[in-house]
């Protein structure tokens, strides 16, 4: 074990393991830990060797060999008031009289979590003209739907929806609240979490239950997707989480399912509300499809950024029943618009099939398509990261390969059709 100049056994931080969460900085009773760059450093001389930093570090980045039991952060008895909170709630985002698909995906997951906890699935449904959505919610798996059907809740405004959802939480007291990480959902979740002063974890890719502690374990990517973190919210309720569309599986709809619908009163919030003046729908462009919805994406990378060959790639996309997307350099070159960009600063997609043409697979791009089921990479560089992770990789000049692939697919499709 490391020692300082006075010979005292002290703690030391392994810089490459430190994720810069600063939990140790706050925990140190003698305030001898500082941040150097994005990494924590213990001043060896005044360190008293108490090991509290070792206890609280989530990534085992602290060297401290004195025998001690590693405690989970904040392992104090939970306030009993928390037992009042029961049920797994899902915010049902409604659009044009239907529930958004992500809401049903989350209801499916909520069923699984509720089963483990031995509790019920609650649907939280603020909106206008959403009676039929409440019934949809029950067929997808909600036991109870708490609905606020009010004209004020027509267009989405954080003030109105925020107040409504906070009201639902305070009345129904769920232990967990899940929301789809749509633009609306992310916006709303933060407002609600702040008002309820509870914990919110965004863009979770995994949800599980620690049954001993009766806690929701939320897993999400961080550091631009380079590292996964599992997070929990111990002493605050509801434990809130947003989940991206297409991460959870869409459950089967069962119209015979029974459930309760509670209709609740609602008053508009005080003060003037913002006014929506206009809505401009997205211009339909090539393929006319939202890259988030397409089941197949043909992704144009820097190595295929050529207007001459773009029609051929579009043809491939269409043939496969999908649409065109691209990486950031292609947007920067002006070949395709920003709405087609996949990646950290673009869109996160999770198609069934991702065909990367000339895409090297930089970290910021991979982060935006990790949820893909099958990856096909067409690249001249066999060492490109995208090739390394692809399920199928074809090495060579895409300009020669793609036309042949198109031919081959057409031939096979013709054969299989009677």
């Amino acid at each position: 074990m490391p020692k300082n100049s006075k010979g005292k056994e002290i703690a030391e931080i392994i810089p490459d393991k430190c994720i810069g969460c600063q939990l140790c900085v706050a925990e140190c009773p003698v305030n001898v830990i500082t941040m150097e760059g994005a990494v924590a450093k213990i001043d060896p001389e005044p360190c008293i060797g108490c090991g509290k930093c070792f206890d609280i570090c989530p990534t085992a980045a602290v060297i401290f060999d004195k025998p001690r039991k590693k405690k989970v952060a904040g392992a104090v008895p939970r306030p009993s008031a928390l037992d009042e909170y029961q049920g797994v709630a899902v915010f049902i985002e409604a659009r044009d009289g239907h529930g958004a698909e992500v809401a049903w995906e989350l209801v499916g997951k909520a069923r699984e979590l509720a089963e483990k906890l031995g509790t019920r699935v609650l649907g939280f449904l603020p909106g206008t003209g959403v009676e039929s959505v409440a019934e949809e919610a029950i067929s997808y798996g909600c036991d109870v739907v708490h609905m606020i059907d009010n004209l004020i809740l027509g267009p989405y405004l954080p003030q109105t929806y925020g107040k409504a959802l906070v009201q639902l939480c305070r009345q129904a007291k769920p232990e967990i609240l899940l929301l789809g990480a749509t633009p609306l959902g992310r916006d709303l979740a933060s407002v609600v979490a702040t008002q309820l002063e509870t914990g919110l974890t965004a863009d979770c890719t995994g949800l599980d239950i620690d049954i001993q502690e009766r806690l929701l374990l939320m897993t999400r990517p961080t550091f631009g997707g380079n590292i996964m973190a599992t997070i929990f919210c111990r002493n605050h309720r509801p434990q809130m989480s947003t989940v991206r569309p297409k991460v959870m599986k869409l459950p089967q709809k069962d119209s015979s399912r029974q459930g309760e619908i509670h209709r609740l009163e609602f008053e508009a919030p005080d003060g003037t509300l913002p006014r929506i003046i206009d809505f401009i729908p997205k211009a339909a462009d090539v393929g006319g499809e939202d890259i988030n919805q397409a089941p197949v994406l043909v992704v144009v990378g820097k190595g295929a950024c050529d207007s001459q060959h773009l029609p051929m790639l579009e043809q491939l996309a269409q043939l496969m029943g999908g649409t065109i997307a691209c990486s950031r350099p292609v947007v920067e070159s002006g070949l395709l618009p920003y709405v087609r960009q996949v990646g950290q600063t673009g869109k996160t997609v999770a198609p069934k099939i991702y065909i990367g043409v000339g895409v090297s697979g930089a970290v910021q791009h991979l982060v935006g398509m990790q949820g893909t089921e099958k990856i096909i990479a067409i690249n001249s560089d066999r060492h490109a990261p995208m090739v390394q992770i692809a399920d199928y990789a074809i090495i060579g000049d895409y300009a020669e390969i793609v036309p042949e692939i198109i031919q081959g697919i057409e031939a096979r499709v013709k054969r299989s059709k009677p």
Binding site: M228, P274, I276, D278, M320, G408
Partner: protein, 279 residues
């Protein structure tokens, strides 16, 4: 018109890699940068301040070296920068962070009215996009997220009109000030500082405010004020490579092989794709 921008210094996550042998982050040599979304926010704020004759103050919560990110923003034309740094702030999740920022903005507002707060949509390390809305909620300001353009400000009527990028299009929305905006990357292009601006950013003083300066109550700050904690971290499940078809030797054969294998192995997905009746 007084504008406050909240910025964050982040590691350049594009450069961060995982050591495949030890499953740890390799961060040596990775530079800290000002969050790109925040640079856009500051650029937009500076342009608004020019248009409506106002001032821009940039604030950031972080350890002492965050000062260099604040100076980057001064170089873009911000008038003043304040560093929020205190051990008590350490270990903060988004709830505690929005508390700290809101307290600081309230303190600024005691000296002069704050009309607008502009933040980047999200930080490229955490990617939560929660801090902006959280801060707006605490301050009781109207919030407008995913802003791609500020269409206009009416200082008489005290309103702002913005364009927001939502699910299927853009929304033009008008609300009263004070308001908080979170901005998309396309909202502005950070400019290239003039030499006098750059020199000023290097020598101007950046004061530091601690917990007392912002009247922060200990239970709401830092680790104590954070409901969420990290249980563990691990490397994402590595997708290992699959089958490789090299077209160098025999292109036709390679492609034919690929198609054979692909159609056979993935027939489930393909059936699903093509069974959808396109009629």
């Amino acid at each position: 018109m007084n504008i406050v921008c909240c910025i964050k210094q982040v590691p350049d996550t594009a450069q961060v890699k995982i050591d495949p042998d030890t499953n740890t982050l390799i961060r040596s040599g990775v530079e800290s940068i000002c969050n790109p979304y925040d640079l856009v926010a500051v650029e937009m704020a500076v342009r608004l301040a020019e248009r409506y004759s106002g001032k821009v103050t940039v604030i950031s919560m972080g350890p002492p070296q965050t000062e260099s990110a604040l100076r980057e923003c001064l170089a873009l034309g911000a008038d003043k920068a304040i560093l929020l740094s205190d051990r008590a702030f350490a270990g903060a999740d988004t709830l505690a962070t929005s508390y700290t920022l809101a307290q600081a903005i309230s303190r600024i507002a005691t000296d002069e009215t704050v009309d607008l707060v502009v933040c980047g949509k999200q930080a490229i390390d955490g990617d939560t996009a929660q801090t902006g809305p959280g801060t707006a909620t605490r301050l009781g300001y109207h919030q407008f997220t995913y802003v791609s353009e500020v269409i206009g400000v009416d200082l008489e009527k005290n309103t702002i009109t913005v364009r927001r990028e939502v699910e299927n299009g853009s929304e033009i929305i008008e609300g009263t000030l004070p308001a908080l905006l979170t901005v998309e990357l396309e909202a502005a292009s950070p400019g290239y500082a003039s030499l006098p601006e750059l020199v000023r950013s290097l020598i101007q003083e950046v004061p530091t405010w601690g917990a007392d300066d912002i009247k922060g109550s200990p239970e709401s700050l830092g680790l104590k004020g954070s409901p969420t904690w990290v249980k563990e971290i691990f490397a994402p499940p590595a997708r290992t490579g699959g089958l490789l078809f090299d077209s160098a030797e025999n292109k036709d054969q390679a492609i034919a092989d690929f198609l054979d294998v692909f159609f056979e192995k993935e027939h489930e997905i393909l059936d699903e794709l093509w069974s959808v009746d396109k009629g």
